[in-house]
């Protein structure tokens, strides 16, 4: 029920800051991606007018997602609007390169290959989901996406900014039993700061009995209330924070399909 420009802006922020951020982790857990990027030495900055910006830095077989305003990227891609950026993510549009024209072949061939790989791990099919290693990585990346999406939606979606502002200060930890994968989200006077990994002494905890329980939960294949009552998902601490978080997380499908 947001206006279209709000929706496009939030979707762009999610696409960049929550989804594409996963390129950081993909090579760490997927040998295919690791092999693909092992020779890459390039930084790509995405600049969206009236929208988000961030840089992906590929070096030494690793990828770093940098949200700071770094100017040193070799390739700078400009998008006229959030909608323009979103259309590129959907495979229907092209950016305007501001610098790095010599890298055009890379942008046209190599880079899309890893974004396709990311898409493969974020969009499970019945077939892909049969493989335990696929489910493990899908769960990890979906959890990371949720944590960063929570920041974008909680701070920018007018339907739930009021909800986010009333969440008590403190850190919520979401994890699979044993602590990996895990994310933590810190709420402080209306600001939301997500991070990867577990934290000691969170203000509230949501813990999944196994990777598969987490995967089913995060992909919307199970119902939260049922899973909690059955003991497969454990919640503890200031659970009011989790209730509010859920209202925000439940809006992700409005932006990401």
């Amino acid at each position: 029920m947001n206006n279209p420009s709000d929706t496009a802006r939030i979707t762009a922020s999610l696409n960049l800051n929550a989804v594409m951020r996963n390129l950081e982790d993909l090579p760490l857990y997927d040998p295919v991606t690791e092999e693909m990027i092992k020779e890459w030495n390039v930084s790509i900055r995405f600049l969206v007018r009236h929208g988000p910006s961030a840089t992906l830095i590929f070096r030494d077989g690793r990828c770093v997602f940098d949200e700071s305003n770094s100017e040193g990227a070799r390739v700078r891609l400009w998008f006229a609007s959030p909608a323009h950026f979103n259309s590129m993510v959907a495979g229907n549009g092209s950016p305007v390169p501001l610098t790095g024209f010599l890298k055009l072949p890379f942008l046209l061939n190599d880079f899309p290959a890893i974004t396709e790989r990311l898409e493969y791990f974020l969009k499970p099919t019945d077939e892909s989901n049969r493989k335990p290693e696929y489910r493990a990585l899908n769960t990890r990346l979906t959890m990371y996406t949720a944590a960063y999406a929570l920041r974008e939606i909680g701070m920018h979606d007018p339907e739930v900014t009021g909800v986010a502002q009333h969440i008590r200060n403190g850190t919520v930890c979401m994890q699979v039993k044993g602590g990996d994968p895990a994310v933590h989200i810190t709420f402080d006077k209306g600001t939301i700061t997500p991070g990867k990994g577990t934290v000691p002494d969170p203000m509230a905890l949501i813990e999944f009995q196994s990777v598969d329980v987490a995967g089913d939960f995060l992909n919307g294949r199970t119902d939260a209330f049922t899973e909690i009552a059955a003991g497969r998902v454990k919640i503890a601490g200031q659970t009011g924070m989790l209730d509010a978080m859920t209202l925000i997380l439940d809006r992700i499908p409005l932006y990401l399909e």
């Binding site: 029920m1 339907e159 739930v160 009021g162 909800v163 009333h166 403190g170 002494d201 969170p202 203000m203 509230a204 905890l205 119902d223 939260a224 209330f225 049922t226 909690i228 009552a229 059955a230 003991g231 454990k234 919640i235 503890a236 601490g237 200031q238 659970t239 009011g240 209202l247 925000i248 439940d250």
Partner: protein, 423 residues
């Protein structure tokens, strides 16, 4: 002390999850019970202040069906009245005559009202009261307090909640409880547009300490509203009959135009009531608000018997006494384990919280361990006392609470001992 297990419950819940959203929905959902697996979900039998679950576990019940049970489960006088009424039909064409007796009794009992309207649930009456206020004042806006609860209809739920659209809540103004300046400012900002202030006698948010009105708050708020032609709706659904039999407004010093009751009116029989002043009676009469089962005789007969029992037993006095005895005992038990247990709200419906751990995890562990030993303690919601709770119940509860702290110590060690939240 032996702890309970819930084998049969999980079997039934598995079936339930296939055909009922969430398995069990609403405020009976196990989800806020932490951890849910330590709590009974289903009640197979209830009597007095005790419930038994599907696995045969017996609990001293400090939730009282989240408020409706006030004289005890299976209270003879109320059940008998309902049974007698049932002999003449359950839901009949034509209103049951007992409706008039009930209205007369309730109006006489409640301070400052001259008529009564009956429905089934609390939200039926808060919705009706809001309609009356809007119709009477020809204004749209309603003031409520942050963290207050007046039912689940969309206007009451906050923006961003599932199924709520912005227009549902665009005329709801929320201000901090006990903050006269904020209330004054809201009234000033929306002068001439506010139909009503809807409020509980004191604030009973979930997951938080309950908050009694500050001295002078209600008389001043009452006057502010009257000066501006704003009606006051007293949502006495949760508090009603446990605080003051004339209505909780008589206890806290305000003069509402409309009063909503449910929970403890009928000792478990489905009935709610909206009461109002003489001036609002014609307005109430012209608003169409009804439901298929709102004219059942049995709940009305039960409510009449229940109201008489309230008077005979002096429910507020009894609930206060057992509430004070229970909470004083629990605070002492907690202190003997070097924990600080804070009690807030009225003793008849206290909210308890161990402040030594700000995350509530230690408190949740204690409540769950007590429940597994037979004292049903929730950690997220105020408890309810009843006329059925006995000194023997309290004695047993204190022993359970003490033993539950042993389990807490095993998990948390001395980490939080000696700590307390700054007041």
């Amino acid at each position: 002390m032996k702890t309970y297990t819930y084998t049969n419950q999980q079997k039934l819940f598995k079936r339930a999850a296939k055909v009922i959203p969430g398995g069990i929905y609403g405020h009976y959902s196990p989800a806020p019970l932490v951890p849910a697996t330590d709590y009974p979900f289903y009640t197979a039998k209830a009597k007095g202040s005790h419930i038994w679950d599907l696995d045969g576990n017996e609990f001293i019940d400090y939730m009282c069906a989240y408020g409706p049970m006030v004289h005890g489960y299976g209270y003879d006088a109320v059940d008998k009245a309902a049974r007698e009424a049932m002999k003449n039909g359950s839901c009949t064409t034509g209103a049951p005559p007992v409706m008039v007796d009930l209205a007369e009794y309730l109006v006489k009992m409640t301070e400052g009202v001259s008529w009564a309207f009956f429905a089934k649930n609390g939200a039926d009456t808060t919705n009706y009261a809001v309609m009356i206020a809007r119709d009477a004042t020809n204004r749209k806006k309603i003031i409520k307090f942050h963290g207050s609860y007046h039912g689940t209809t969309p206007w009451m739920q906050g923006r961003g909640h599932h199924g709520v659209i912005p227009s549902d809540v665009e005329n709801i103004i929320s201000v901090p409880w006990n903050d006269l300046e904020a209330l004054r400012q809201a009234i000033k900002t929306h002068r001439g547009q506010i139909a009503a202030l809807i409020a509980s006698p004191y604030l009973v948010p979930a997951f938080q300490d309950n908050d009694l009105p500050l001295p002078g708050f209600w008389p001043e708020a009452d006057q502010m509203c009257k000066n501006e032609g704003i009606l006051i709706i007293s949502d006495d659904i949760r508090h009603g009959f446990r605080i003051n039999l004339k209505g909780s407004h008589a206890e806290y010093g305000y003069d509402p135009d409309l009063v909503c009751y449910c929970k403890a009116i009928g000792n478990g029989y489905p009935i709610s009531a909206c009461l109002g002043t003489d001036e609002l009676k014609p307005v109430a009469g012209r608003i169409f608000h009804t439901g298929s089962y709102w004219f059942q005789a049995a709940p009305m007969a039960a409510a009449l018997a229940s109201l008489k029992a309230h008077r005979e037993l002096n429910t507020p006095k009894k609930c206060r006494r057992v509430g004070e005895k229970l909470t004083k005992g629990l605070v002492e038990v907690a202190a003997s384990h070097d924990y600080h247990l804070k009690v807030s709200g009225a003793p008849a419906m206290p909210y308890l919280r161990i402040t030594s751990d700000p995350t509530l995890m230690l408190h949740q562990k204690w409540c769950a361990e007590a429940t597994k030993r037979g004292a049903f303690f929730t950690s997220h919601h105020n408890w309810f006392m009843s006329n059925a709770h006995s000194d023997k119940d309290i004695e047993k509860t204190l022993a359970i609470a003490d033993d539950a702290f042993g389990a807490v110590d095993k998990e948390f060690g001395s980490r939080f001992k000696g700590r307390r939240e700054e007041e």
